[in-house]
Point group: C2
Chain length 223, copies 2
DNA sequence: TTTTCCTCGTTGTAAAAACAACAGACTTGT
DNA sequence: ACAAGTCTGTTGTTTTTACAACGAGGAAAA
């Protein structure tokens, strides 16, 4: 448990709290660890949640498959991010999607009530965490809006440009790698893989970008 | 100001707080009122927010227009809902979209710090509001995911079915009205208006649904 | 090492969406 | 009451996407 304190330290949820303080809070928050193998389901559609979950190792996809096998990747969860937090509210129904481990992953769970209620003496920084909880879910919210911005573009090319530009911006470089393979990127942008692959190559031939597997480089006057 | 206390009473943000208590909290939260005419901008892309905003009258669209005049309606805000709350966090940049009044509207603003920090004696129910703040933003989060579910459908027909089914479910009836005209619905689902109109009529001719302006009725074995 | 599996690009075809343009019904404002 | 403007459906054309199928290359497994 303690080996993940340094990971928690860098999360939005525990921003401004020292490692010693985090370590002290773990029991107060009734923290628990779960490990998942690559491909395993961390959460399944239909489940009811009552705990705050933070990924402390590996990576996850929040995804949904329909009757015909079409997969939609709603969000990718990287180390340090929360997930499922929007479905803890009492009035929210069951989880409407699956959460799957993309590689071997470690998840830490916290008791929501204890996290939201400032306790007595032991945890002086508990109030900070309550604030952080709001800011962390705000961050998720902004990411969803950003994703909406990508997939609400009309054409595959625009979706790609929107996504890749943001990724370049996020990594502060015209050269960057993405955390998806082609099929996953297509599922994320909700387009057909082969059509997307085709469009990528056209863009490459037009000199808009270069790529090799997951490594991309945007050319021309990108801002 | 006091005339809107009954509205606030029914919001997620003030759930479990009596009207008398809300009235008492207004000054503590440094509440302020703003009025907007139909068509006016409530917030503009690029602004920096530092207050919690709740719509207490009218209706708003959160939308974004691109260079070519394509409009994307990200979300519709109804009375009692918060908006912009995800962009109050210190690390969030400027607001990436506009907020526009669709009809004459009234907005109430609250001080975030005072809302998040439990004060001394006066506001006993302040702690409840802190919890509610989290649940309210959770609700927004779920709505965004739901919207993602609609527009990540591949075809216009599927997008329509996804949206209309949800609306029927929300209003607990196969007959319901939607808060959009055709152009707005198209901008919301990010499809072309005429193509969507065409598809709607095809679906009507196939006996899937009936409609008259904003009133829809789903037919056949809808669940 | 060999075999199997997975990823990625490529092509052709069929289906669907975007686009443009217009007419009729209805609203709004004067 | 009239004129201007808006909303909606409709049609035909062009562009784009989805779909299906396959082969090359590389990675993983036997």
């Amino acid at each position: 448990m303690e080996k993940y304190v340094s990971v928690l330290k860098r999360t939005r949820l525990f921003a401004g709290v020292t490692e010693a303080e985090i370590a002290a809070m773990l029991s107060c928050l009734d923290a628990k660890l779960r490990a998942y193998k690559k491909g395993e389901y961390v959460l399944r559609q239909g489940e009811h949640l009552d705990r705050i979950t933070v990924l402390v190792g590996g990576s996850l996809h929040i995804q949904k498959d329909d009757y015909w096998g079409n997969r939609a990747i709603i969000q990718r969860i990287a180390v340090g991010e929360m997930f499922g937090e929007a479905y803890i509210a009492p009035e929210s129904g069951a989880l409407p999607h699956d959460v799957v481990a993309i590689e071997d992953s470690i998840v830490m769970l916290f008791d929501l009530r204890r996290m939201m209620t400032v306790c007595s003496s032991a945890c002086r920084f508990h109030a900070t965490v309550v604030h952080n909880l709001f800011f962390a879910i705000s961050e998720k919210n902004r990411k969803l809006v950003q994703k909406l911005g990508h997939i609400s573009k009309r054409s595959t090319r625009e979706k790609l440009i929107s996504y890749l530009s943001e990724e370049a911006k996020k990594q502060s470089s015209a050269s960057f790698t993405i955390p998806f393979n082609r099929q996953q990127l297509a599922d994320f942008l909700s387009v057909d893989r082969s059509a997307m692959s085709n469009e990528l190559c056209k863009m490459r031939d037009e000199g808009l970008l270069e790529f090799d597997k997951n490594a991309f480089k945007l050319l021309q006057g990108e801002e």
